[in-house]
Structures are given as C-alpha cells and as structure tokens.
C-alpha cells in the first residue's frame, strides 16, 4: 500500500474527509473487498495501539500511587537480619559484577560495543529533496532499519563510487549492521579523500570497525592520531587506547 492511500484511510477513519470525498471512498470500499479489509485492519491496529498506550499509562499510574504504599506496609516492624543479609549479598554481587565487567572491557570487541553509537543522520525533507532514494535511506537509517537503508543506498553508491557522503553513511550503516569488513572498505575510501568533511568521523568509525574485527594494531594507529589532535573523538580515543594497552 502506498503512502497516499494510507493517508486517505487515516483521514477517513479520523473523519477528516469532506462529505463528497467520504462518499467516494465508501463507494470504492463497497466494490473493492481488499480495500475494505485494509481499512478494517487499519482501524484495528489503531485501536490496539491506543489500548496498549492506555495499558502502559495505567501501569504508570498504579506504580506512582499504589506501589510505594505497598512497600511502606511491607516494611518489617521488628529488626530482622534477613534484609541485611540480602543487602550484603547484593553488595557482594555488585562488587563481583563490577570486577568481572572491568576485566571484560579490555577485549577489542567489547570496547567496540561500549563506544559504538551510530552517527547522527542528515536532516531529510521528503518531497523536496532531489534524491528521494537517499532521503528514504536516511529515514530507514534513523529508524535503525540498517539493512533497509543499505538497500536504498547501495545502488546510488554503485553509480557514484567515490562520493564521500555515501561512502561514509554506507560504512557506518554496515558497521551498525554488524558487517565490519565492508565497513572497513567504505570508511577507508572516506579517510583517504583529503577534502571530505566526514574524514575525522570516518576515521573514528574505521577505528571502531577494526576493533570489532579484532585488528588491534590498525585500530591503535588511527586512535593515536585522533587522540593527538583537537576533534570530537579525542578524549574517547585516548580512553580506548588506555583500555587496550592495559592488557
């Protein structure tokens, strides 16, 4: 179903159509069984979304007004050692967990996981952009639908293989989609193009890609460069360097 029909159904369900439009839509539905079913399904989905939102709201209200009350009532009147034993065990667990966590963070893979957040997308204004596929891909990217974004962008990149914006976003998206090897290819192209405004960011994501695929030496040389000059990734880069050097 395309977006135009979707908006028409929405307007119909919310009663936003003019009398003439509504009558026309109802005539269409009378002859088109598939359309009628689409509208019915859409109505049900909206109703389920609303019910689910209300259920969540009621849970919040309950928690806010009645959960605290239960806890006060449940407070022990006599001093019992049981809660203290629990508190002590919890404290021990937290300490143990912290220790294990500290040990783990030094592997390149987990350093990658701790530092990777997808890059900010570019603003998209659909309908006004000359390149709709690029904008569509950007919407998918922002919705964290990485495979879908790549489907939009790959053909554009094939047509224009040196485009730094495309290489950068396809690279970051590949990394987010767990394909660090292709990410390395795309991001290297951006890092090597001296004029690109994405160069520093690409270098950061390239370093993370190397960490993800456990190529520590390559990651280190990129991070050292980032740590030694003024840029948004400077402090994070020195942090990571310390962590992987520690081992």
């Amino acid at each position: 179903m395309d977006e135009k029909l979707f908006e028409k159904m929405e307007d119909y369900i919310h009663g936003n159509l003019s009398v003439a439009e509504r009558e026309q839509f109802e005539t269409e539905m009378a002859t088109d069984e598939q359309l009628r079913q689409e509208v019915e399904l859409h109505r049900q989905l909206i109703s389920s979304v609303e019910t689910e939102s209300l259920r969540q709201l009621l849970d919040q209200i309950h928690e806010k007004n009645f959960e605290a009350e239960t806890k006060i009532v449940a407070m022990p009147r006599r001093r019992s050692y049981f809660p203290m034993a629990i508190a002590a065990s919890v404290a021990l667990l937290i300490l143990a967990g912290w220790w294990v966590f500290n040990l783990q963070t030094s592997s390149p893979e987990s350093v990658y996981a701790a530092y990777f957040t997808p890059a900010e997308g570019l603003p998209t204004t659909l309908g006004y952009s000359t390149n709709t596929d690029f904008a569509e891909g950007m919407v998918s990217y922002k919705l964290e639908e990485y495979a879908e974004a790549l489907e939009y962008w790959q053909p554009l990149l094939e047509a224009d293989p040196t485009n730094d914006t495309l290489n950068y976003y396809v690279g970051v998206t590949s990394l987010a989609d767990e394909q660090s090897d292709s990410a390395i290819d795309y991001l290297t192209t951006v890092v090597n193009s001296e004029q690109s405004s994405f160069r520093t960011s690409a270098q950061w994501y390239l370093a993370l890609s190397y960490l993800k695929s456990d190529q520590r030496e390559q990651a280190k040389s990129l991070l050292k460069d980032l740590a030694n000059r003024d840029n948004p990734y400077q402090s994070q880069s020195s942090e990571i360097l310390q962590k992987i050097e520690d081992r």
């Binding site: 977006e3 979304v49 019910t51 939102s53 209300l54 065990s89």
Partner: protein, 231 residues
C-alpha cells in the same frame, strides 16, 4: 552469625554496615512522616475531586492522563477491597481494575456506555469489576471458593463482560508493539493516543513535518507486518 570475615574482607564489611544504616534511616524517615504523607494524599485527592461525571466522561473520550489518574485513585481501593474479600490478591485486583478501566473507556468510545441520571460513573466501574471478578472465580472455582450467597447474577452490565478485553489477550499485541523500535512506539503513542498533531510530533522529535508523516506511515507498515506475520 556474620556473613563476612572482618579481617580479610574489611571493605565488604564496611559496605555491609552502610547498607544496614541506610535501611534504618529510610525506615525512621518513613515512620516519622507517615502521618504527613496521609495528609498530603488527602489534600491531593481533595484537589483532584473537582471533577463532575460530565467532565470525566469528556476527559476519557480525549484520553486525558489526569482524568485516568483521578478515576484510578478514587476507585482502585474499593475494587481492591472487594477482590481481596473474595480471596483475590493485590495483583488480581490490579489486573481486574485495569481491565475494567479499559472496558469503561471502550464503552464510552463506542457509545455503549451513556451517562445516566442517578448512576455515578464510579459506581458503574466498581460494579463491572466486581461482576468480572465473580465471573472469573466461577470459571476457576477450583482456585477460589465462592459462597453461593455472594454470587450475584450479572444483569444490566452483562454486555460489558462480553466485550471485555483480557490482560492475556492484550499481551500478544503488547509483545508485537514492543518489537517496534522506541522511536516508532513513541511516535504512534503520541499520534493515536495522545492525539498530538503531526506538527507537534515533528517539533518534539526535532524533524520536519513531512519526515514525521513519512515515519508514521512506515512505523504503521512495520507494525502491520509484525501483526500479520504472527496472526
């Protein structure tokens, strides 16, 4: 008996002591202000109860959070008391009451519930929750003991029970909805439940109007895909 060895694990011991102190402080704090809390709660309820049945009705139609909260605070204790009197737990009461709120809200939207002279909305709500609980106990009589004289045959409100949405029924959709990303969930809740306009949503998410509209379309398409795949 001590759980820790003082000599070797001195730091754990300090941590353990701190936990005890924290417990005692919280406990002392709560007992001291127990009364004050009661006064605050009473004042809050007094402030909240400036609603009439008409304004509650309108508020429910518009999905106003304040109105839901007011009705919740006013009526949950009565329903809880009834459910517990007939052998239910606090959680049973919560489930039944929330299902009852959803039923009331649905019936107002469909027109099945109309304001009636002399019947307060709160009476209606408590009554349908009670009927529902009786019904549930009858069906699960191996779990709860029902005294014959306690059971009232549902009459005028019986139609409510037919359209009643169970917690369990809603659970499937709850899981499907959770499969959408946070962003989609937020966007759809704002648009369909909170009735925010696309312009308001676009501003809140920091995106353009056209993008917001397109995202809404795509989120609904995804939700449809999830629901149809699991039907």
């Amino acid at each position: 008996m001590l759980l820790v060895d003082r000599n070797t694990d001195y730091y754990y011991f300090i941590y353990f002591q701190l936990s005890i102190v924290r417990f005692q402080l919280v406990y002392a704090y709560i007992s001291q202000f127990d009364e004050l809390l009661t006064v605050i709660m009473a004042a809050r309820i007094a402030r909240l109860s400036t609603y009439t049945d008409q304004s509650l009705y309108r508020g429910l139609l518009n999905n106003e959070a304040d109105v839901f909260e007011h009705i919740y605070i006013e009526n949950f204790p009565a329903v809880r008391q009834q459910v517990q009197r007939y052998g239910g737990s606090e959680d049973d009461a919560k489930d039944i009451f929330q299902e009852g709120m959803i039923a009331l809200w649905n019936n107002i939207r469909s027109g099945a519930y109309q304001l009636r002279e002399g019947v307060k909305m709160s009476t209606y709500l408590v009554q349908i929750c009670k009927l529902r609980w009786m019904d549930k106990m009858k069906k699960a009589s191996h779990r709860y003991e029902v005294k014959q004289e306690d059971y009232v045959e549902p009459e005028a409100e019986a139609d409510v029970l037919i359209n009643w949405i169970d917690q369990e029924e809603q659970q499937q959709f709850q899981q499907q909805f959770a499969q959408l990303g946070e962003r989609c969930q937020d966007l759809l809740k704002r648009f369909y439940f909170l009735k925010e306009t696309m312009q308001e949503i676009a501003a809140a998410l920091g995106i353009g109007d056209a993008t917001a509209k397109n995202e809404k379309y795509r989120c609904m398409q995804r939700l449809k895909k999830i629901v149809l795949n699991q039907a």
